[in-house]
């Protein structure tokens, strides 16, 4: 008996098909994952099931819920949504009303579904691991992990038969991510709740699901029980997705690690809070007396929960911000961040976390990539032109992309181009602020492999911030763990993954999600 059954569902919006002939069924207690790259139709399918698509969307095919045909009118859908179907769509706390306390919103939800908020609120909070004292506040006072728990509580308030979650752990750090996944799984197994979940995080989906549907361009590529699909993927695309999810370290020839390149000594960064002059609150300490040194050819990963000060430290190193105290030394020159001497700027390159925002949408990518070359005006035009082409080729793209606008590229290609821009001045040190955070699973692996190759080819040093331990495993020689502005642990990747010392590090390592499928034999 299928709880939710979708047959030959085709959705077109504005004349273009965004989902085509999709069929699947979820039985009671089954957990189905929709897997696919961004734009493969996952969210549209969920929207169609919930009846939340824009009016101009044309949906054909049949859907049934608990052996009844899915009601076509909005009133019928509303009766299901939030009652028999729990919904967790909104990310980053956007699903919470900003001007009501979290507790009030949870009580409203309970009152709308079961009737006795006072009795059930404590239980609901316990179910999602929230402290009753923590919810007597407005949503913006909660951490991202807590906000996500509240969203989960709102979805579970009616004790639904089916939970639909679209990217339930997007943007969370490893520890929060694992806890939310564990919670969802616990509710599914304890109450026999069914689950429909979509994400592009393969490991999260593998952990949650019993059945999978692999989507590509709105079509089902492969579907079935999880162990069958992951164990014996039939379709080439599935195999590609699975292998991309497993970032393997490529032991390429590396340039030997040399002498000191950059020294960071006791660097702190404070931010004033509130209105200048009028506010007497203590400043916010983003980076607190951090010292580290990077040797030539070395790759250092900086990991830690969000808000640990990783980005601020990287921005100081790259010369985007000024340290409040402390100093940095590069090539026997001392600087404090934004006063990095112009003559040294070409030695340090910076890669932003969001490639889309790091390109001016009105300039061709060629213009943007060429921009750093003004640091080396003494070189001949021919040489600089050759540099641009070399940089673009090095990241695996042809030179004719240079005349196109950023909007023509996928996020993954833009991140490659951003790396090309970073390469163009032939830097010694490349500073990367979570370079894979905005990428699909497939693109993540590619970028990490690319970084490793570039490091070998160009003799680069890396300073990489990441919230994902995969990065650590693939590209780092040394790992620094940052928490509340301080470096709390330094280790080699092997040490860190096997014998983490600090409680936070232990939590992070323990929160790693298991690998997906079978390990291929090469």
């Amino acid at each position: 008996m299928a709880l939710l059954k979708v047959d030959n569902l085709t959705i077109s919006i504005g004349g273009s098909k965004v989902a085509e002939d999709v069929s699947f069924a979820i039985g009671k207690g089954q957990r189905l994952a929709l897997i696919g790259e961004s734009g493969s139709g996952k969210s549209v399918l969920i929207g169609a099931i919930l009846g939340l698509l824009p009016e101009k969307a044309v949906v054909t095919g049949t859907m049934s819920f608990d052996d009844q045909p899915m009601p076509a009118d909005d009133a019928g859908r509303t009766a299901l949504r939030g009652r028999r179907i729990g919904v967790m769509l909104d990310q980053r706390g956007r699903g919470l009303a900003p001007l009501r306390t979290v507790a009030a919103q949870l009580r409203d939800r309970l009152a709308a579904t079961t009737g006795d908020p006072a009795a059930q609120l404590p239980e609901l909070l316990r179910d999602v691991g929230l402290d009753p004292a923590a919810v007597e506040c407005y949503p913006d006072a909660l951490s991202p992990g807590q906000q996500r728990r509240v969203l989960l509580a709102l979805a579970l308030a009616s004790k639904p038969d089916l939970l639909i979650a679209d990217d339930p752990v997007a943007g969370l750090d490893v520890i929060d991510q694992r806890q939310i996944l564990d919670l969802i799984l616990k509710h599914c197994t304890e109450r026999g709740m069914s689950l429909l979940v979509a994400s592009h995080d393969l490991k999260a989906l593998a952990m949650l699901s019993t059945k999978v549907v692999i989507l590509r361009g709105g079509k089902v590529v492969e579907a079935g029980e999880k162990q069958d699909v992951f164990g014996h993927p039939k379709h080439e695309f599935t195999r590609a997705v699975l292998s991309a999810g497993r970032h393997r370290a490529r032991t390429l020839m590396r340039t030997p690690i040399g002498g000191a390149l950059l020294d960071v000594r006791n660097v702190s960064r404070h931010y004033a809070v509130g209105v200048p002059l009028l506010d007497r609150r203590p400043p916010l300490v983003a980076v607190d007396a951090v010292s580290l040194s990077i040797r030539l050819g070395e790759s250092i990963a900086l990991i830690g929960p969000s808000g640990a000060g990783k980005s601020t430290l990287l921005r100081i190193v790259a010369g985007l911000e000024r340290a409040t105290s402390g100093e940095l030394e590069l090539e026997q020159m001392v600087y404090h961040g934004s006063d990095l001497p112009r003559a040294l700027r070409h030695l340090i390159a910076f890669v932003f976390p969001d490639p889309v925002r790091s390109f001016n949408p009105r300039h061709t990518v060629g213009e943007s990539i060429a921009e750093p070359l003004q640091l080396e005006m003494q070189k001949s035009v021919d040489e600089l032109g050759a540099r641009i082409v070399e940089a673009v080729n090095a990241v695996g793209l042809p030179a004719d992309v240079l005349t196109r606008l950023p909007g023509d590229f996928s996020v993954a290609h833009l991140q490659r181009l951003a790396i090309a821009r970073a390469l163009v001045t032939r830097p010694r040190l490349m500073v990367l602020d979570d370079p894979i955070a905005r990428l699909d699973v497939a693109a993540r692996g590619d970028v990490l492999v690319l970084l490793n190759r570039l490091r070998a080819d160009f003799g680069l040093s890396f300073l990489i911030a990441a919230h994902d331990l995969d990065v650590v495993r693939v590209v780092a020689d040394r790992v620094l763990v940052m928490h509340k502005g301080r470096i709390i642990e330094a280790a080699t990747p092997a040490q860190l993954l096997e014998k983490p010392q600090q409680p936070l590090t232990q939590q992070m390592v323990a929160a790693q999600l298991p690998d997906v499928g079978i390990v291929p034999v090469f």
């Binding site: 273009s16 961004s38 734009g39 929207g47 700027r345 932003f352 889309v356 390109f359 001016n360 003004q374």
Partner: protein, 287 residues
């Protein structure tokens, strides 16, 4: 091709349509106003009491008023005056508001605090009150009207400029350019100014519409343009005593004001949406 981009495209088409309608209509009215400098069907000031209060005919397309003046000619002159008043007021606003906004955005938190503070007080004093004040001090005239509306424009243009510069300079690509060794001037020229200029044009068009309304309102109550010059607001005022006998006299300037303001607001609303997308950094071009 995702759901979102399909929707975006069709709304983008509709928006482009609205923008075209707005721009074309605004330009047509402006043209009508400019033509009146060189030619009107009748000299706008010429009285012909014998032909007073005529209905529209082949001779007088929109009829004549109580003094026998040709309404079409008056309307054309009036459009010109209204546009000139509104445009000079925008120019005054831009001349002072632009540097203020740039200063607030670029010269550190204290200048910012000062500009924002002064703007807040100026905003609390509506343009109309300001214009009444100026008219009381210097006597009502087109000039005091321009200055009064202009002062109101200073605030909105300063704030729009500040907002655009602050938002633009927060973009990662501006930071990337700074790392790439671009000087302050380069940054402004290549990355900041193109967007800021669009933001200011959008705000300027909105203020133009505001100026047209303000001119009409203040001239209507006698605090603006004085006879023998004419403006859309003055035409309304002149027509009022005859509004029952000859509603057309009231309708012509009224409808013209309405259409001009709608045309300008259509234009500015579409421009503003485009600018908002630029500022948010969402506009990744044709995806």
């Amino acid at each position: 091709m995702t759901e979102a981009s399909g929707l975006r495209r069709s709304t983008a088409d509709a928006n482009l349509m609205l923008l075209r309608v707005g721009v074309v209509a605004s330009l047509l009215f402006l043209l009508l106003g400019f033509v009146s400098i060189l030619w009107t069907p009748y000299p706008a000031g010429s009285l012909d009491v014998a032909a007073a209060m005529q209905d529209p005919s082949g001779v007088h397309w929109l009829g004549t008023d109580q003094l026998g003046r040709d309404v079409l000619s008056l309307m054309m002159k009036g459009i010109l005056t209204s546009f000139v008043v509104a445009a000079v007021a925008v120019a005054i606003g831009a001349l002072i508001g632009l540097p203020l906004g740039l200063g607030a955005a670029l010269l550190g938190p204290y200048v910012d605090l000062a500009v924002n503070g002064v703007s807040t007080y100026l905003m609390a004093l509506p343009a109309f009150v300001m214009a009444v004040l100026l008219a009381a001090l210097f006597g009502p005239s087109a000039a005091t009207l321009m200055v009064g509306i202009g002062i109101a424009n200073i605030v909105s243009l300063a704030l729009a400029t500040r907002h655009a510069v602050v938002k633009t300079s927060k973009h990662d690509y501006v930071a990337a350019a700074r790392l790439a060794g671009a000087s302050g001037l380069d940054l402004v020229r290549h990355h900041t100014m193109p967007i800021v200029a669009r933001a200011i044009v959008a705000q300027g068009v909105a203020q133009l519409a505001f100026g047209i309304i303000a001119e009409a309102t203040l001239s209507y109550v006698g605090l603006g343009v004085q006879p023998p010059a004419t403006s859309l607001g003055l035409l309304l005022r002149d027509a009022q005593p005859f509004s029952l006998a000859k509603p057309l006299l009231l309708a012509v300037p009224g409808v013209v004001i309405l259409l001009i303001v709608i045309a300008l607001n259509l234009t500015s609303a579409q421009l503003r949406d485009a600018v908002a997308a630029d500022l948010a950094g969402d506009d990744s071009g044709p995806a």
